[in-house]
């Protein structure tokens, strides 16, 4: 279309939306299957995958609803594909049945959840951070689902790759929680400096055999583990090792059972395999200042405003620390308590009404004065956070 301008050196700044970067991150991670259903503000991910994935030998297709979209992904993942879908709050509500199924069957899955204003159909073209707990606590039993939260287009790329690594290694559904403003805003991204890493792969029978281990476990069952936090070796449906998959309570062989000790152990294992790796799941950006009296905690789109507010506060002579939480769940408790160690006051800024994330980290901030900067319908501005810092 346009020939490169030879009078200037080549460079690698590109215009990208967060949605596009999430799709490109998925491709970099080796995603081979995407099924989607259009919904503002997540459609850009779907569209980019439709445009890019088939050319790379993968499958991207339209499903007739969100339930089908996520079920296609889970089925494909069971067959061995790295699979992803994308949606927003209303579509997420439909997907949660099957996300629980992925969790129960230990099927790797990445879901991009691009938040918009709720409840119900809410505001399709308005942002929000109101799905934080709806996403995390979508399972009966409150199983921990890892949630990663990018603040800009570049992080959409990086955290999507990480989401695939977690999904694959730990055989869990992983959510990348974005929002309208992160997903649809177009910004300059230095694509030349993006990490060239890809995601890791699920521990397969083949890989373990190569490593000389687990051979004796091959016939012990689809969900076999010795220690409770161990990840069962993955075998694809259609591969040489028989798979017995089920969303019902089951033993290590996948046999439907009611309340046997082994079945309860499997249920505990679904949580313990994540809990046991808490430190591995902690991803934060800590900008801490010695002798700071206040700690700002932010995530997602609001982190950008918080960063500006913190700079301005420091310019005005305030001592203030800032912690951006990228891995919302499992809650990076150590990182949060370390950051809050010496401060008197913690301010959690998030674009929702009641301080959703604040409500779940509050208990880890005992002895601190914990406040929120909250708002719905528009992005929280740096000025609003600054006022909270100064008051």
């Amino acid at each position: 279309m346009i020939s490169p301008d030879t009078t200037h050196p080549p460079h690698s700044l590109r215009l990208r939306s967060g949605n596009q970067m999430m799709a490109e991150g998925a491709l970099q991670a080796g995603c081979t299957f995407f099924a989607g259903y259009p919904i503002t503000p997540a459609t850009g991910i779907f569209k980019t995958m439709i445009d890019l994935l088939p050319a790379r030998g993968g499958v991207a297709l339209s499903a007739p609803d969100e339930i089908s979209a996520v079920a296609y992904c889970i089925g494909a993942s069971m067959r061995g594909a790295k699979a992803m879908t994308a949606t927003s709050g209303p579509g997420w509500a439909l997907m949660t049945e099957s996300v629980q199924y992925a969790l129960m069957t230990e099927t790797p899955l990445v879901v991009a959840l691009v938040q918009r204003l709720g409840p119900s159909t809410g505001g399709a073209t308005q942002g929000g951070q109101g799905d934080v707990l709806l996403a995390e606590y979508c399972t009966s039993g409150g199983y921990t689902i890892p949630i990663l939260c990018p603040t800009n287009a570049r992080e959409c790329y990086e955290l999507t790759i990480l989401a695939f690594t977690w999904a694959e290694l730990f055989r869990v559904p992983v959510i990348v929680l974005s929002d309208k403003e992160t997903g649809m805003t177009i910004e300059s991204v230095d694509v030349g400096s993006l990490p060239s890493i890809t995601s890791q792969n699920r521990p397969s029978n083949f890989a373990f055999r190569e490593l000389g281990g687990f051979r004796q476990n091959e016939r012990k069952g689809t969900y076999y583990f010795d220690a409770i936090h161990e990840i069962p070796v993955f075998a694809p449906v259609g591969g040489p090792r028989k798979v017995t998959a089920t969303g019902s309570a089951h033993d290590k062989q996948g046999r439907l059972q009611k309340n046997s000790p082994e079945t309860l152990e499997v249920l505990l294992h679904l949580e313990q395999k994540v809990r046991w790796r808490l430190d591995d799941f902690a991803v934060v950006t800590a900008d801490l200042q010695p002798a700071a009296g206040t700690l700002i905690i932010s995530y997602g789109i609001t982190a950008r405003a918080a960063r500006d507010a913190v700079s301005e506060a420091r310019r005005m002579g305030e001592r203030v620390s800032h912690l951006i939480v990228h891995s919302l769940f499992p809650i990076p408790v150590k990182k949060i308590t370390q950051a809050a160690h010496n401060v008197d006051e913690v301010i959690v800024a998030e674009e929702n009404m009641n301080g959703l994330y604040r409500s779940v980290i509050d208990r880890h901030l005992a002895g601190k004065r914990v406040r929120g900067v909250n708002k719905i319908g528009a992005m929280i501005t740096p000025q609003e956070i600054l006022e909270a810092i100064m008051s």
Binding site: H8, G58, P236
Partner: protein
């Protein structure tokens, strides 16, 4: 995977896919048992390698089959969704793996109805999935409630006076959904295993509705026996036998390979416009521009065009768009930040430049109280036909729409402001405009000149 010696006949063929001495978890006389036996017979007749068969089961009595089969894969799913999970398995197998897997779904009448969408779409796609819809007219597992496939007058737990709602003809729905293979029969049909073998062997979507007796909840209440199943079919106008067998439909995987897979990127060319080189950014401090106009008047696309010039100028940029839920009516807004440094907050509370091209944009700026926030460091550029709002900004009225017309007003004004205030290098701005109009750009520059002249003549201020 090695087969047990019991399963290997002397000829090396498989004589059963069941476990040794299968214990069927069904009520005495239940049709599910004979359906599963016929399914086993069909698999035996096809001699499929067990690891190349996946049995995907739904919730309900018919789903309680995992433990009956020895070496084939079993996937027990959620209510109604079995066909959708099977579709995912089949898609990945046929397009990303060896394409040898036969995926079979066992679903009841309740599951067929709650998962109707999945059946319809699997039929539309024509994935290699065979669905056995085991229709015993009731939800057996939960106590015999009526389903969408329950015949009229049928007595169930939820229709104690007899069903007053005519049932759907599931085969007709699937035929109308372009399912290439559709059949209906009864559980006692002696040729059922042949029919199942034919359906499974078929490379594509096949649905077989099997009418059955629920001995617990349908038989006593409705005085049924096996022969009556044909009467029920007849009374409801349900055809029996192979109802659709189309040779003209290619499986989805075949069509996908032909038309989609490994074809050129659709958007890889997008980046070409960005590869126009870089320069050391010259912008001293961040600049914000808020462009407000009407949907359909290229507001956001013009902002995007300018953004490419900004990137070529080595600047960081954010473009935050806003519009109502509709795509082609109402306001359209783009908020642009240009900066030599990383950009934090992407919103614009008080723009350096507010550009209003239409009454839709005016109304939105008014309702968002943007006019009211302008101060003396802000410049408002506004079409002369629009009311000048009460504000503290420096106001410039322009013959924008009369010079450029609605379609080019947004780009015209953006370019005008960028050049007038030296926000971006002139050559880069003009270059992206030239690219947009593919060289046929004289009209645009003529109008730009006209606007510049008009504004110099003193039409600029309030």
């Amino acid at each position: 995977m090695s087969l047990s010696t019991e399963q290997k006949a002397t000829s090396g063929s498989i004589t059963s896919y069941f476990v040794d001495q299968p214990r069927f978890p069904f009520c005495k006389g239940c049709g599910h048992q004979s359906v599963l036996r016929r399914l086993n017979d069909a698999l035996v007749s096809l001699q499929l390698p067990p690891d190349k068969v996946a049995l995907v089961t739904d919730i309900g009595c018919i789903g309680l089959t995992d433990a009956l089969f020895k070496d084939i894969h079993t996937v027990h799913t959620t209510h109604g969704r079995s066909t959708a999970f099977a579709t995912g398995i089949a898609l990945a197998d046929s397009l990303l793996a060896d394409g040898k897997l036969k995926t079979i779904v066992l679903i009841g009448d309740g599951g067929a109805m709650i998962g109707l969408q999945h059946l319809v779409h699997a039929a539309m796609l024509n994935v290699d999935v065979t669905v056995l819809i085991c229709n015993n007219f009731v939800y057996g597992m939960t106590g015999g409630q009526g389903s969408g496939l329950t015949p009229e007058c049928f007595v169930t737990a939820t229709t104690p006076k007899g069903n007053i709602v005519p049932p759907v003809d599931i085969c007709e729905i699937l035929t109308a959904s372009n399912a290439p293979f559709v059949a209906r029969t009864v559980a006692t049909d002696r040729s059922l295993s042949d029919l199942l073998a034919k359906a499974i062997a078929y490379n594509g979507f096949a649905a077989i509705e099997i009418l059955e007796l629920c001995t617990e909840f349908a038989v006593p209440q409705n005085k049924l026996d096996g022969q009556r199943l044909y009467d029920i079919a007849k009374k409801n106008g349900w055809g029996v036998g192979i109802l659709a067998e189309r040779m003209d439909r290619s499986p989805y995987a075949v069509r996908y390979r032909e038309e989609v897979l490994n074809k050129t990127d659709v958007v890889s060319q997008l980046d070409a416009i960005h590869r126009i080189g870089t320069r050391i950014p010259t912008l001293k401090k961040p600049v914000s521009i808020l462009l407000a106009g009407s949907a359909g008047e290229r507001v956001q696309s013009s902002a995007g065009l300018v953004a490419t010039a900004a990137v070529a100028a080595g600047l960081n940029i954010t473009q935050k768009n806003d519009n109502p839920v509709t795509q082609g009516s109402g306001f359209s807004v783009a908020e642009l930040w240009f900066s030599a440094h990383e950009i934090g907050f992407t919103g614009i509370t008080r723009p350096d430049f507010l550009l209003v091209t239409s009454v839709d944009g005016w109304r939105e700026m008014y309702s968002q109280r943007v006019f009211a926030r302008l101060d003396r460091s802000s410049a408002l550029y506004i079409d002369e036909t629009l009311q000048v709002p009460e504000c503290d900004g420096v106001v410039h009225r322009l013959k924008l729409r009369s010079v450029f017309g609605g379609k080019d007003a947004a780009l015209g004004l953006l370019v005008f402001v960028l050049l007038r205030h030296d926000i971006l290098p002139r050559d880069l701005v003009l270059r992206v405009v030239r690219e947009k109009y593919r060289g046929d750009v004289d009209f645009f520059f003529t109008r730009l000149q006209q606007l510049e002249m008009e504004s110099d003549r003193g039409n600029v201020s309030r």
